[in-house]
Amino acid sequence: MKPTTLLALGAIWLSITLAIFLAFLYAPPAKNFIGESSRILFFHVPMAWVSSLAFILAGVASVRYLRTRDVRFDHQARSAVGLGLIFGVLATVTGSLWARVMWNSYWNWDPRQSSIILALTFYLAYFGFRSAVEEVEARRRLAAAYAALGLIVAPFLFYIAPRIAGFTLHPEPILNANLKVEVESRMRQVLLLSSLGFTAFFVWLHILNCRLLTLLEARDAKSLS
């Protein structure tokens, strides 16, 4: 392994480890939150951010696949959707734990909860489409067209729908309606570190996943020939 790779991986480990300790021991509990429940924010927000990033990345890779028919973009889209689903589920679980403390119920059909469930269902169907089509090229084209549609669906569900809904129990998003981050400075520092760490961790997983998909495809091609 190259020294630069090792250094980058060390930085990922360190940033998330630091974020964990700072989230519990440095950042103050937020006002208007019950007890220490606001500390889950340092994990819930990065998970939701990484999930939306992954879905947008999958859409971009899918558009590139449709234009070039380069199989690497299909791998990128498939990997990004899978990871987006994992991070989306983690965002939903951390959000539900927090909702239990604040609203006394794991699930309230709040606009944000509804929109993330719709987004996860939409992307779960991506794998349904993939497994429903036998012919490889047709499967890739259909999956790419579907994930490209996600370029409209994901931003709408993550960023627009919760904002146009007339009611919400959810606190003001980190980036509020005036496009300003109005969070206590220590909380902002930890949130930034945590978001950077989890984004870098996602990039690492995504690269590995794409390499793995290439290996699996080569193995399948070898066994067929």
Binding site: I16, F24, L25, W204, L208, R211, L215, A218
Partner: protein, 42 residues
């Protein structure tokens, strides 16, 4: 509210989270090495 300390309840929660994260990191790191080895053998 009492300030958080390394030896307090929040310190323990942070330590447990850090151990879980380190375990996950090592698992992915080993996967990384295995994938690199498979690519080399191909």
């Amino acid at each position: 509210m009492e300030p958080a300390t390394v030896t307090g309840g929040l310190g323990w929660i942070a330590a447990v989270n850090a151990v879980i994260w380190t375990g996950l990191f090592l698992f992915v790191f080993l996967m990384h090495r295995k994938i690199a080895r498979l690519e080399k053998d191909r």
